[in-house]
């Protein structure tokens, strides 16, 4: 019997198992436990949630291996961690630590302003952010096994997540209505490989799982993103920057599963305490917007 690890099917398949779920940012073992107990499908281990990265400034990097190990030790669900865009050595380190997924993330300070990581070289699967279909397909071409719409991390303002999901969904729908001979120009215009463009046009969906992220702070936010075509939801600062993380985490899990049942969402939304205060994306100067990182 020939056993093979790190195949495309195994990497993309892992993301399929996360669908319909909520992945939560956690900065320590205690938060990771809260996330698992609330029904998170995975946790993202990082040193500072995006809201704090935004507030404190400075260069944001891969987390301390000790901190990742501690989180791996306390939960049984998958543990993800972030590497800087283009920083393939951070990715090698994370793979050696046995994390289950690497997020090549614009939330951290990019290490390379030209190249992303060549993700085919790894056994561990990668997720990458995208603001539009072309960007998503370029990441998939580099080996990403899962995509998340970027939104604007650390704001609690869902508007950019909506913009990016609608953009990706709209561009996919547009491709499905095109004649075969129009797909060549579509590929050129969105700067994406023709083979992937053709595949999306035929399937009407990305070849990998598509989650959403960046500004989701309430159960209703999570449910709306599911309506817009997300396979699942990342919640970063929205849970542990709120008044009652444990209840809010469970509420977002419930709302993600029953996104099409407003009564369940209403029930889940009761008595959650304060949501994260947040900032309007419009008040953030363009150079400070994280979604602009990556290309």
């Amino acid at each position: 019997m020939s056993e093979i690890t790190g195949t495309g099917r195994v990497k993309r398949g892992m993301a399929e198992m996360l669908k319909g779920g909520v992945i939560m940012d956690v900065v320590n073992a205690e938060q990771a436990k809260i996330a698992e107990d609330a029904g998170a499908v995975a946790v993202m281990a990082l040193e500072r949630v995006p809201a704090d990265i935004r507030a404190q400034g400075g260069v944001a990097r891969m987390s301390d291996p000790d901190m990742i190990e501690k989180i791996k030790a306390v939960v049984t669900i998958p543990v993800m961690a972030k590497a800087r865009i283009g920083h393939f050595v951070e990715a090698q380190v994370l793979q050696s630590l046995g994390v289950d997924y690497i997020d090549e993330s614009e939330v951290l300070t990019p290490a390379d302003y030209e190249n992303h990581i060549d993700k085919w070289n790894f056994t561990v699967p990668f997720i990458c952010g995208a603001t539009n279909l072309g960007e998503a397909l370029r990441r998939i071409n580099e080996g990403a096994a899962m995509i998340r719409s970027k939104g604007e991390a650390g704001t609690g303002d869902v508007s950019n997540a909506v913009t990016h999901m609608r953009k990706i969904g709209g561009e996919i729908r547009r491709l499905t209505s095109m004649r075969d001979d129009e797909l060549y120009v579509a590929a050129k215009e969105m700067q994406a490989p023709y083979e992937l463009v053709k595949e999306v046009a035929k399937a009407g969906k990305l070849p990998v799982v598509l989650f959403t992220a960046g500004g989701i702070a309430t159960p209703a936010d999570a449910a709306m993103m599911m309506h817009l075509g997300a396979d699942g939801v990342f919640i970063g600062s929205g849970i542990f920057k709120s008044g009652d993380p444990s209840r809010r985490a469970l509420a977002c899990v419930k709302a993600t599963t029953f996104f099409d049942d407003p009564k369940v969402i209403a029930d889940a939304s009761r008595g959650l305490g304060d949501a994260m205060v947040g900032i309007n994306v419009a008040d953030i100067p363009v150079p400070h917007r994280l979604a602009e990182r990556g290309w």
Partner: protein, 198 residues
């Protein structure tokens, strides 16, 4: 016959597609009344702690246990195998299962995602091997007398471990046939398990 796919979390869509290709009516079920209305149930791959937690929160444990108790055919892949097992090793604290299958399952037994693999697997009753996809997969550590082992693999520690089991109307696999275009496991569930469990 209507086959329900438990729609709380996981690769629900892939199971629906596989069952649909086998020509059976499929319904995604997330509520008590929906679960009571189906003739058979598939528990998809996903995160077993999440699915169990949602089943508790939305009060579905009793209805699923009672349907299993009264002989409804159920197939579980990966997380679904864990949820059908009577005993789970390496579970999260307080993790519950629906139970029914007299097996002890070890969660994430093959390791973390970097250890996830695919392999050709010989199954009892199938002429040609199937390509099996194992993702953070469990294995069956021990089985009760009523359980038959349909397939096994040699684990990294050199032991032979059961990865497909059946006990009457209950079928479970550690791997994910729904991730391949090979529908033979789903067909086996419909043709051998469902139709002979009535």
């Amino acid at each position: 016959m209507i086959v329900g796919v438990l729609g709380l979390q996981g690769d629900i869509r892939e199971h629906c597609l596989a069952l649909g290709e086998c020509g059976v009516d499929v319904a995604v079920v997330r509520r008590k009344a929906e679960i009571e209305a189906v003739d058979a149930l598939v528990i998809p791959g996903g995160e077993s702690t999440t699915i169990a937690h949602l089943a508790q929160v939305f009060d579905l444990i009793d209805v699923i246990r009672s349907r299993i108790g009264s002989g409804m055919p159920v197939y579980g892949s990966c997380a679904g195998m864990i949820l059908l097992a009577n005993r789970v090793l390496d579970a999260a604290p307080n993790q519950i299962t629906f139970g029914g299958l007299d097996i002890t399952v070890r969660r994430n037994a093959f390791g973390r995602q970097v250890d996830s693999f695919e392999a050709d697997l010989d199954l009892d009753g199938m002429n040609e091997s199937i390509r099996a996809v194992f993702i953070r997969a469990p294995w069956v550590e021990s089985t009760g007398p009523a359980v038959s082992v349909l397939a096994s693999v040699v684990s990294p520690d050199g032991q032979r471990r059961a990865v497909a089991v059946r006990q009457g109307p209950l079928l479970a696999t550690s791997f994910h046939p729904e991730l391949t275009s090979d529908n033979r496991i789903h067909r086996y569930f419909l043709d051998e398990v469902c139709s002979k469990s009535k």
